[in-house]
Amino acid sequence: MKTNLLRPLFDAGKLWQGNTETTIEVTDTGFPELNTQLCSQGWPAHMLIEFLTDDVFSAPIQCALATWRSQHDARWIAFVNPPLTPCTERLMQEGIDTEKVDVMNIPTDQFAWCLEQLALSGSTRSIIAWEMETLTSTQLRRLQLACQRGHTQLFLVRQLTHRNQASPAPVRVSMQSSITGFEITIFKQPGTNARPPIVVPTELSWIQKPSPARRTTCINKDSSRLH
């Protein structure tokens, strides 16, 4: 009886049991090794996803870019309070239609309201936002509900210190960067238990390629002459 009453919630992916296959809509992460760690083989398409990291520049945006590359959705994407100015040419090199990208710098007191509006509107497919001031549990819950209503994916980049605090976000991930890649630990996700950390390698082959202008030797020569 109880199961029947709860069935619509299970079917909608709003409620799940541990160690069960859920049928939520997901988007490819762009990293096969990360897909295998995630329930339903990808990031939930319409949920709040927390990235907890001390490296706000690298790992979160690489994850978001890899996800966006694999999405086939004509709606907009948004950068909210990015730590630096995103490079348009790089976004174009990544295959992103920059005419459908919003870059927003929002005052701290309007941050939660703005994210909620973006998530609710239905015109934004994915958002990456860098938390400026700690959001309350209520605000996070509202953002999760807004994502579900507006069919929006929200990557919220937060400080690693929030890891030990409870959060209503259905997916919580901690990240640590290194030169060869970044280590991801998925410690909360729908339908399954926490997973061991995995290392996602960064694609740096274009740097390691031998090039006529490669300067391990030339550099020394140049620098010895210059300095």
Binding site: F57, S58, I61, Q62, L65, A74, R75, W76, P82, P83, L84, T85, P86, C87, T88, E89, R90, L91, M92, Q93, T98, E99, V101, D102, V103, M104, N105, I106, P107, Q110, W113, C114, Q117, L118, S121, G122, S123, T124, S177, S178, I179, T202, L204, W206, I207, S211, A213, R214, R215, I219, S223, L226, H227
Partner: protein, 463 residues
């Protein structure tokens, strides 16, 4: 046969003054006489027609307002605009509204269903109505006066039972008809027509023909005004901006109805807030995309108006819409969601609260210098990307100085150089060599050396 509805607004004068009369003793007076009063005032013994001094004697705490014909006219026009959504033939008649409803029956159902629709709509707008139907406006008005609402097949039968005292003709004419032996309207029509015509005044004869549906009085039909201009006044000044939310919603709802009736959209709203100290705050709201829905009009308006900090209580809010465009039907694909509408409403809300510069779009200009090529701007078109070496994810604008040696700043050169020599035409020439570097064995940076000054600069980060 043509059927008319007559709508009477029992609290028209009180509503026109913007008076909250539901829990207060309020009366409207003109030339020393009470014209209309609230239910509470009636309970205290105040009645229309009474002198003002008598009313104040009976009810010392009676709140009195002077009758203002302009306000009454303004409200009746607003009500006509509201009624226009139920029929294209609406007339302001006899301090009420006359609506031709026979053609509306196919859309709104029979007269009972139409009655319910009108009553529900009126109560949602917070005003009371009394209505009845008839073959002529006079017949419907007589039924309203008598508190009757017969069905269509019973119009004549009900009419014939109405007392001759109830008809809207001068008292001496009524007396004369009674002397002739007519006690009810039915008695009057049972007499031969020629005999009646010979004995009574022509106006009275025509009026009786009108209430029987035999004579049509010409009506001047209402049409929506070319400019939307409505206001709401507050009897007691509003101290807080939050209290404006309800009047804003009401005005934008009316504006949306007006736009829909004219098959128009607008992108410009003009709000005026009058304060007790006679200061007027004017706020112009520009929308990113012309709209005609109440929510799309009210949300950006409210987000801008809530920033107001009035110095004294607000006594009036006024909305004007002058610029309208013809609405074109949306060309929606059956299987595609209306993202454009959502997007324009989102932009309206965000720009209303955060300003126009809060949202920027990355664009690429045709300039070899990275700081000029990569822009955040809504006004430029993006130029296609030529074949370029990899660019960093993040740009530093302005670049950060690394001094004369990148190694000393922790940057080890990995790959390069990429030579950029440009800008000779705009007096900001750039002659640089860009390098991809490893920063402190953890991050990949993008730096350049200025070939003129030989100084090194950090331009961006790859990771």
């Amino acid at each position: 046969m043509v059927i008319y509805a007559y709508l009477k607004f029992p609290n028209l004068l009180l509503d026109a003054q913007g008076v909250s009369h539901h829990n207060e003793c309020v009366a409207i007076h003109h030339q020393g006489q009470i014209m209309q009063c609230s239910e509470q005032a009636l309970a205290e013994g105040v009645v229309p027609g009474m002198t003002l001094s008598m009313a104040l004697t009976l009810c010392p705490h009676l709140l009195t307002k002077t009758y203002q014909a302009d306000e009454e006219r303004r409200l009746i026009h607003r009500l006509a605009l509201w009624a226009y959504q139920y029929s294209h033939q609406v007339a302001i008649w006899n301090k009420g509204l006359c609506i031709e409803v026979s053609k509306s029956k196919s859309l709104f159902g029979d007269l009972a269903e139409l009655t319910q629709t009108l009553k529900n709509a009126a109560s949602s707008q917070s005003f009371q109505i009394q209505l009845a139907f008839g073959y002529t406006p006079e017949m419907a008005a007589l039924f309203v006066q008598e508190g009757l609402r017969p069905k269509e097949h019973a119009f004549q039968k009900t009419l014939s039972r109405i007392s001759i005292d109830a008809v809207a003709i001068p008292r001496e004419q009524i007396k004369r008809l009674k002397n002739m032996g007519f006690r009810t309207v039915g008695d009057y029509f049972s007499a031969p027509s020629r005999a009646r015509q010979a004995r009574i005044h022509q106006d009275t004869f025509l009026y009786f023909d009108a209430i029987a549906g035999r004579h049509q009085t010409p009506l001047s039909w209402f049409s929506p005004p070319p400019v939307f201009d409505q206001s709401v006044e507050f009897l007691r000044g509003l101290e807080s901006v939050d209290m404006l939310k309800f009047p804003i919603n009401r005005l934008t709802q009316d504006a949306a109805n007006w736009l829909r009736q004219r098959v128009c959209v607008t992108g410009q709203l003009r709000w005026e807030i009058t304060q007790e100290n006679r200061n007027i705050d004017v706020l112009k709201v520009s929308l990113n995309h012309p709209v005609n829905s109440a929510t799309a009009l009210s949300d950006p308006s409210w987000l801008q108006l809530e920033k107001l900090r009035p110095a004294s209580p607000m006594t009036r809010i006024r909305l004007t819409i002058q610029q309208v465009h013809q609405a074109s039907p949306q060309k929606n694909d059956l299987f595609v969601k209306t993202h454009d509408t959502d997007r324009s409403q989102l932009l309206d809300r965000l720009t209303a609260r955060l300003g126009k510069k809060c949202i920027q779009t990355p664009c690429r200009l045709q300039d070899p210098r990275p700081e000029y090529a990569n822009q955040l701007d809504n006004n430029h078109n993006t130029h296609p990307l030529p074949h370029l070496p990899p660019r960093p994810l993040w740009l530093l604008n302005p670049p950060e100085s690394l001094g004369s040696s990148p190694e000393k700043a922790g940057h080890t050169l990995l790959q390069g150089p990429e030579r950029i020599e440009s800008g000779w035409w705009d007096f900001e020439p750039a002659c640089r060599r860009y390098w991809i570097c490893l920063f402190q064995s953890t991050r990949i940076s993008w730096i350049y050396q200025d070939q003129r000054s030989k100084s090194w600069w950090l331009a961006g980060w790859f990771t």
